[in-house]
Symmetry: C2
Subunit: 334 residues, 2 copies
């Protein structure tokens, strides 16, 4: 009996991408670990808790992939990919404080373990570190793209805060939030990897790919917060519901709800008066109005745009892997 | 009867410095206002609340002054000075969340008005904006210095958090915190202004000036938190005490305290079991052990070093104003 290594077709596209870029990803993890070092012990402790707790590394993978599409090695983007992951991790730390989340990546959140104060400050440290890392690229275009993405993320977060109890907000508002909070960093991750490979002409289409992949990814994320198996999601199902966070499935259902259903949604999302069975009741309302199907169609349309953006690229195994990644984001259960 | 304009000697050194750089400072305020603009209304609202509530603009003034020492105008440092103020403001926003402060610059803190969530996120926005502004200098040395200062500030904050209930911490630990949290940004503000004037050789001494000025400033700040007239301080007297924050006056007293006095300090700073009259009692203990005198002497020694660092500079009205600013920081009641 012989044991055979899994073929690339046997594994999911994210794992395949990670496998293709395993050497580079290992180098990124090394840079991350080095840059978490600090004589202030709470920084590596808290940082490692989150960063090495099974993060998907999706954003740094995009940076590495967009670089390797054009270059034999991605050594010059290792630090940059780590910077992208640091920006993401910093926003997660602050996000969990803002949302008062208790669970992420199957572990208690940093704020649940070390308190909000530590999460805020270590988040700031990671932001500063990301900036230090990206300066090392000596590339002002890269700096501008990532600084703009950082501003966009916080702008999106504040926008979400301002709108968090408005059931009648237009879908476009929510899409703008998703764009600012998620898609911009996906786009930036792709663009900077491409620019570091000196492929200015490919930066816009690959940014476009990242942008649309990010939109699809986040919409699926919002669906999964209602429908996923919590063990596979790695965080609590119903988090958004419990925080009264109005996401796409809710906004898509609301206009077609009956007066009684609207009252239930108002009580749960505006008055924040949630009763024990309310999650199931709200889930039923959202299903009845085909919210998840509608949201999923929207995610698919962004996925299609991401796919189109890839087409002008020359043939390359990574082009196929990036293409497969779109499907993976659409069918994922993570 | 004729009205005469006040002579420069009649006004305090900070006002004199502001007056000398009034044109540049006005331009900085304009850049600040422009960069607070956002379609997300909470960002300018919250940002303006803090930034235009009578901040001293000490750090951007240092940047402008160090530039104007060598150049006729400081136009090229306007954005940079605004970036320095944004870094400072972002840390204030997060600091007030971490410390749960209620009052700053005679106004309720942003977190007291809009909640911790908004303060965390708008702080992040200001950090990102500061990056955007400093990138416009096209100067990698400037970027490196300010990114390092940002990392240092959060490292200092986390260190303070780790040590916040240790009455036996060595004085050196606390000085390291003050250096990281305050002095590094003062030093950076001076260095980047100097570098933008293409005066590489003067960057180190002026950084040294800023570093020592920052140490003196923060130590006096910690004294004032116990001794100042609250109307002049612009924030609550006794804030540090109520938060159980162990500052220099407390650490300087503790080793020479009697067993009974140590118990009182432990109850107030470690167990956080504070009774109505405890602030006066602790104040008396600190005075009895000459904590404020000792702390003040330390501040003076940093002031002396700041003064020495200025001496090699060529004669200039701003050299005198920066020199006067040291004395002002030492005798200030703000």
């Amino acid at each position: 009996m012989s044991i055979t290594a899994p073929k690339i077709n046997d594994i999911d596209p994210l794992t395949a991408l990670k496998s293709y870029l395993s050497r580079e990803l290992e180098a990124v993890d090394k840079v991350i670990a080095q840059n978490l070092e600090s004589p202030v012990f709470l920084i590596p402790t808290l940082g490692r808790h989150l960063i090495f707790a099974g993060g998907k590394r999706l954003r740094p993978l995009l940076t590495l992939a967009c670089h390797r599409l054009f270059k034999e090695t991605a050594d010059t983007t290792t630090g940059l990919a780590a910077a992208v992951e640091f920006i993401h991790t910093a926003t997660l730390l602050h996000d969990d404080v803002v949302d008062e989340s208790k669970l992420r990546r199957t572990l208690p959140t940093a704020n649940a373990v070390w308190g909000n104060q530590a999460s805020v400050l270590v988040g700031d440290f990671l932001f500063a570190k990301s900036f230090q890392l990206m300066i090392e690229t000596n590339n002002f275009d890269v700096l501008r793209i990532l600084a703009n993405a950082s501003a966009s993320i916080s702008e999106g977060e504040v926008l979400q805060l301002s709108l968090c109890h408005n059931l009648e907000a237009p879908i476009e508002y929510l899409l703008r939030i998703i764009e600012a909070k998620t898609a911009t960093l996906f786009a930036a991750a792709c663009q900077v990897g491409t620019l570091m490979a000196n492929q200015q002409t490919h930066a816009a289409p690959l940014g476009n790919y990242g942008q649309n992949l990010g939109m699809a990814f986040q919409i699926v994320d919002d669906i999964l917060d209602y429908c996923a198996d919590p063990a596979q999601l790695g965080k609590d199902v119903g988090d958004d519901f419990r925080e009264g966070k109005i996401t796409l499935p809710v906004l898509l259902a609301y206009p077609s709800c009956s007066a009684a259903e609207k009252e239930i949604l108002k009580r749960n999302f505006i008055e924040m008066n949630q009763k024990p069975n309310d999650f199931s009741i709200v889930l039923e309302i959202l299903q009845k109005h085909h919210s998840f199907t509608k949201a999923y169609k929207l995610a698919q349309s962004f996925g299609d745009k991401a796919y189109e953006a890839l087409q002008p690229l020359p043939s390359h195994p990574l082009k196929d892997l990036l293409s497969d990644l779109i499907k993976h984001c659409l069918i994922r259960k993570f």
